[in-house]
Amino acid sequence: MNEAGAANSVKTRRPLLRLPRPLLRLHNIVSDRVLAVGLIVPSVVAVLVFVYGFIGWSALVSVSQWDTVRPDYTFVGFDNFRNLFHNFRFLIDIRNTVVFTVFFVGACLVIGFVLASLLDRQIKGEGIFRSIYLFPMAVSFIVTGVAWRWLLAPRAGVNLLAEKLGPGNLDYGWYTDPTVVFIHPGSRFGEALHSLGLGFLADANFGIPLALFSVVIAATWQMSGFVMVLYLAGLRAIPEELKEAARADGANELQVLRRISLPLLRPVTLSAMIILGHQSLKIFDLVVSMTQRGPGFATDVPALFMFETTFQGNHFARGAAISIVMLLSVSVLVIPYLYWSLRKEARL
């Protein structure tokens, strides 16, 4: 069937959607091109106001002295930001965000990639495995938080399971553990971190709060399946002939993976890093339902600080300043990515 024929056969069908007659006549008066623009105007205006307008408004609040229930837009310059970067809780939050992002993104990438490359070997029941690894994505972070709070409760959960299965009770405090580990930059572990490009984790002033790893575990449980799906799609897109050719040249499976699959999967890795990274910069729900601030703010995050200081403490200007810092950190990550994705699409 040729194209015109296809269009004709569609035209003669009874329409599924009924539109009012005046709407249909409109195009006799105004050109369709103008109507097209008119159709997306409501959405564009909504986004313009509710995203860009509101960001501008928040920015205005962040340079004001609004510190009570009553709005006060008196301009104070960057005072709120300056105070923020001298605020003990906010500095801890930044540290927590860095630690959380590194370990959460790292764990998701490794687990997601391993699962995907295992599933990519003609596995019987692949669909079932895939569904099991991905299902946490479908539930709310609040549900995840409630479940994992009990799973990592010191008197029960995983500690107790270890006792039941043999190794003995772990007696570990999980998210109640106030320990902050300082890694000496000169130590062997510090040097190892340095060689991995994670030298800042071994800064003498930069502690790693152990309680935060409980949140990392819960978040990884929820998000690693997503990375698996991305990698699996990426692996399936690699032409089999390419791998065959390498094998014919005598490469073993590990070499095929390292020399062919991994380099070709670099865009997937980048996508996963950006998506997970920007999520970890704004993580909120999971912390609220699982640990709240934690011992000595060990699991506190900027989003929680912002929420509490704004809506419970009425420090609106400070809350707005935190939110603008969060926005800037996300933008640095996302804007180049969006630009890159859309440019790549345009070139196709």
Binding site: F50, G145, L230
Partner: protein, 273 residues
């Protein structure tokens, strides 16, 4: 022989990881099904002596009105989101105009922002419009902040519908509405399913907007109510677990039956489709 062993090793790893991923669901389920006499923390991993629905009944009593609120919010928000996304996707693929790609870029950015950065103005605006603290306020919020992702998914979807089809219909004198009604819309069902599932899941699971926009417990969606339930020291933990499972059931059911559409939404959200 060594190949057989490596196959066994692969399956062992896959099964072990699967069990690990199912562990939270196991605990939620067995705890929820225990009678109140056997819910000590020490028995956390033990199977229940029989099927007791007391915890579920009690959790449901605590959450039933909030579940209803969630449905009353999610259903209209999802429907409106789908329609808006579909129209936007149609225009941005079949009626492109100068600057439409730039516009799309600015729309998309809205999907990634931390919502904290619009929260204070949002609350003030909803208050001024007298919809603060109402379910309609939440519906409007979710529809607006859903515009980027719904537009993105429909735009990807309509890109695959040949533009020649639209051109041919235009030559035949069909209008912008006629083409949508007779060509695009009838072909849109899979797109609508992907967007509907995506919006249903993310709006149902949302906590930040729900917690900020609704302070009144009688109109709070289930995520907020569950968080309150779980944060309460007088609610037994088995009821909390049952409540968590109840709150997860609607999205889990959708996932089980329509998972492949859910995955398409995920891929689109990561800008990979």
């Amino acid at each position: 022989m060594s190949i057989a062993w490596s196959r066994i090793a692969i399956y062992t790893v896959l099964v072990a990881v699967a069990l690990l991923y199912l562990m939270p669901i196991y605990v939620l389920l067995v705890t929820g099904l225990k009678s109140f006499r056997e819910v000590g923390l020490e028995e956390m991993w033990d199977l229940p002596s029989g099927l007791h629905f007391d915890s579920f009944r009690q959790a449901f009593r605590a959450l039933d009105s909030n579940l209803a609120n969630s449905f009353r919010m999610v259903i209209p928000a999802t429907i409106i989101s789908c329609l808006l996304g579909s129209i936007n996707g149609y225009v941005l693929t079949k009626w492109r105009f100068r600057g439409s790609d730039v516009l799309f870029f600015f729309l998309l950015f809205g999907m990634f922002i931390p919502y904290q950065s619009i929260l204070i103005p949002l609350v003030k605006t909803l208050q001024a419009l007298h919809v603060y603290g109402s379910l309609w306020g939440l519906v409007v919020t979710h529809v607006i902040y859903g515009i980027p992702i719904t537009t993105l998914i429909f735009r990807n979807y309509y890109t695959n519908i040949p533009t020649e089809l639209v051109e041919a219909a235009r030559i035949d004198g069909a209008s912008i509405f006629g083409i949508y009604r007779r060509i695009l819309f009838p072909l849109s069902l899979p797109g609508f399913v992907v967007v509907a599932i995506w919006q249903f899941t993310s709006i149902w699971n949302d906590f930040l907007f729900a917690a900020t926009v609704t302070s009144n417990p009688t109109i709070q969606p289930v995520t907020v109510a569950l968080n309150n339930l779980a944060g309460s020291f007088i609610v037994e933990w088995n009821v909390q677990m049952a409540g968590a499972l109840i709150a997860a059931i609607p999205t889990l059911v959708i996932y089980v039956f329509l998972g492949r559409f859910f995955i398409r939404g995920l891929m689109a959200g990561a800008m990979r489709s």
